[in-house]
Structures are given as C-alpha cells and as structure tokens.
Amino acid sequence: MFQWFHRLAASKNFYRLAEILGPLFGVLGAILLTLGVYRGLFVAPTDYEQGESYRIIYVHVPSAWMSMFVYMVMAFCSALFLIWKMKLADIIAEVSAPMGAAFTFLALATGSLWGKPMWGTWWEWDARLTSELILLFLYIGYMALRASIDNRGSAARAAAILALVGVVNIPIIHYSVEWWNTLHQPASITKFDTPSIHISMLVPLLMMALGFTFFYFTNMLSRARSVILEREANNNWVKDRFRENRL
C-alpha cells in the first residue's frame, strides 16, 4: 500500500495520472454544472417566501462548501508534506490556495448579493458571512507568506505550518464568531438553514456542489501539472515529453 502510494507520489507518475483524470473530471463537472444550472434556474420551483432571489444559493452554497473543503485539502496535504516530506502534497497545497480564496470570495460576493433583497443591506454581520471573511484573510495570509519567502523549501514548510495552525483555529474562530453573533443581535434570518428544503430544490443544489468539486479537481490537477513541469524542467522525462511534443 505504502509502496503504491510512493510510486504514485513520484511526479512523473502523478503527471500521467493527472493527464487522464483532469479531462475526465472536467467533462463530468461540465455535465453536472450544466444540468445543475438548468434545473436550478429553470426547473426548480420559486420559493414562496424569497421569490426568485433564493436561486443564488445554487452558486453561494457550493462556493461556501468548497471554501472549507479546499482548506481541509490544503491542511491535509500540509500534514502529509511535513510528516513524510511528500513534494507532491506541497504542490497540491500550493495550487489549491488561490482556488480556495476564489471560492471564499465567490461565497462572500454572492452572500452579499443575496443579502441586499433579503436583509435590505449589502453586508450584515451574520455569523457565517463573518467566518467566511476571516477564512478569506487566512487564505490571503497563507499565500502572502509563501510569496515572501524566496527559498522554495523554506516557503513550503513555513506555509505548511501556517496551514496547520489555521486548521486548528478555524473551528475556534467559527464558534466564537457564532457566539459573538448571538450575543450582539437576535438570530438573523438564515433561511439556508431550513432543514426541509424541497427535493426539487435539493437535487440541483447537490449537482452544483458535485460539479464545483469536479471543477476544483480538474483545475487543481492542471495547475499541479504546470508546477511539476516547472520544478522538474531539468529531468529527462520532461525533456523527452517536450521533444515528442506531448506536454
């Protein structure tokens, strides 16, 4: 099992795997996103309380999920990298950070757009929006730290430690913000919470969530491939592929 893992982690083998899986995930993601958008925007019924504007959840909720999922991927890869010195794990963490930040920003922007008709304001100090904002700060700090250390090895390990410190703090921040929120204002209308979302609304939501996940993996794999090529530019397998024009 471990040997298999190590062979996979070799850049050359991972590159080959990413070449196959990337486009596959891309096609699956495109199908799911198309179906999800169609069913979410045209087929799903109008909400009787929120009207049409509830439909923004088909972008908002998957982005919010992904913003946290990507941080978990980053933290997991950082642990792998610190413990077993797997370079591949570092590459995945590195290329995931900007994507995670983008998902977080998207969740914030769509949350704010939804807030205007619902709460009557662009920004409400709602517990979840505030946590998302802090998560965005954590992503930015991670990328800034990585960018400001010149030595690649040190940058990778410093960033990995920061990601692990962040992952310990995320639940603490989340619950303290929630506590702060309930203390300072009556619980806001968080209709995303409604447990009894109708099945015709839920199915497109799950499709979008899965589509977002596939999109993340496709994009992450293709970014990882270019980082591998950059780092291994002097290795023979890269030169061979370059000569045969199959990068």
Partner: protein
C-alpha cells in the same frame, strides 16, 4: 531543563531592561491609539463608555502585535537564536521562556496601564477588575499565538506587515471573548462564561503553540 528556562528568562528580561525602547514603544503606542478614539469620534461620555471595552481591547491587541515583531529579531540578527536551536534542551521549553519574558516586558506594563486608560474612556469602575483579568489571560494567549507568526517571519526583511496579516485573524477569538467580558461586566451581567473560555483558549495555546513556534524557528533559521 528548569535551569535553562530560568536562565533564558533572566537573560531576556535583562536585555529588555537595557533596551528601553523595546517595552516603552508599545506602551506609548497603546496610550496614543486609545487617545485617538475620543478625538476621532467626539468627547461624548456616553458614547465613549459604550465603545470603551472594544477600543481598549483592540488597542491592547495592536500594541501586542507591534511588540511581537521584535520577539526573535535581535536574537536572529546576532546569531544567538541558532545557539538556542543547537542547545540540548527541548526547544519548546526555551521558546516558552522567551515568550514569557517578552510578555513580562511588553504585556504586563500594558495591563498595569489599562485602568488609567479605562478611566479616561469613562468605563464603569466595576468593569475594571474584569478588564484586568481578561487582559491578563488574553494578552498571554495573544503572545503565544503571535509568537508562531513572529517565528515564521523572523528571517524576512520586511516581516512586520506580513506578521499582522498572519496573526490578526488568529487573534479574533481572544478579542471576542475579551471585550465581551468587559461589556458584560459594565452592564452588570455575569462574566464567568467569557473568562472560562479565555482561560480555555490560553491553556490550548500554552500546549499547542510552543511546538509550532519551535518548528517555525527551525525553518526560519536554515
């Protein structure tokens, strides 16, 4: 191990007292930031009383942050940090001594000055003991968490702004519980919950931060 802890603590305290700017500057910064609020908002006592807990806590947090930048800097520059890393004593214990010494010279004066500023900000007198307790536990936690960031950025030329970016989001829980304990005390409510949570955060940081600081220092000095 205990001997090394005390020796390092004594050394750092001595060094700090010889360089007065190290502990005076954050203190003066704390005073000036608090002074800016009445000037920016207006001298209305009621308004000042309402915002006093938050202002005092945010100012204390920023002063701690300002002081953190120098935590490992001089030791890094003159090479004594590397000697520290080479010593046979566990590095986690040594960094704990450094953080404690740093807190004693920068955090403790902040704490002692805060009642004065609380009076200036019209905070109710009953809330002042709670302010002191929350700042005592809170700034210790901030020093421990912030030291991770200081260790990560010590090798960088302009680490100051980056340090703020790294550690300020991690300071948020301490700020929330700290300032809300003072708000609760000022309005006559029980403050046990907030103080217990601050204590829990402090214990968590006390256990988890030293190994992270040690690991970060090893990366920064290679």
């Amino acid at each position: 191990m205990g001997g090394a802890f005390w020796a390092l603590l004594k050394r750092d305290m001595l060094l700090a007292f010889r360089r007065r700017a190290d502990w005076l500057n954050p203190l003066v910064f704390f005073v000036i930031v608090v002074t800016l609020f009445p000037l920016g908002i207006g001298p209305d006592p009621g308004l000042l009383r309402d915002i006093a807990p938050g202002v005092l806590w945010v100012a204390a947090l920023l002063a701690t942050l300002l002081a953190l930048d120098g935590l490992f800097r001089s030791d890094f520059d003159d090479g004594s940090l590397e000697q520290l890393l080479l010593s046979p004593q566990p590095l986690s214990v040594l960094v704990l001594a450094k953080v404690l010494a740093h807190w004693l010279v920068t955090g403790l004066p902040l704490l002692l000055l805060s009642p004065l500023l609380a009076v200036v900000m019209q905070l109710q007198v009953v809330a002042i003991p709670v302010l002191l307790v929350s700042l005592l536990v809170g700034t210790l936690t901030l020093s421990l968490v912030g030291a991770i960031g200081a260790a990560l950025t010590v090798g960088l030329q302009r680490g100051g702004v980056l340090l703020a970016l790294l550690v300020l989001p991690l300071f948020i829980p301490v700020l929330i519980f700290g300032s809300s304990s003072v708000i609760a005390a000022a309005s006559g409510f029980a403050v046990d919950a907030q103080l217990y949570l601050l204590g829990a955060l402090f214990l968590l940081a006390l256990v988890l931060a030293p190994p992270a600081i040690a690991a970060a220092l090893r990366i920064s000095t290679e």
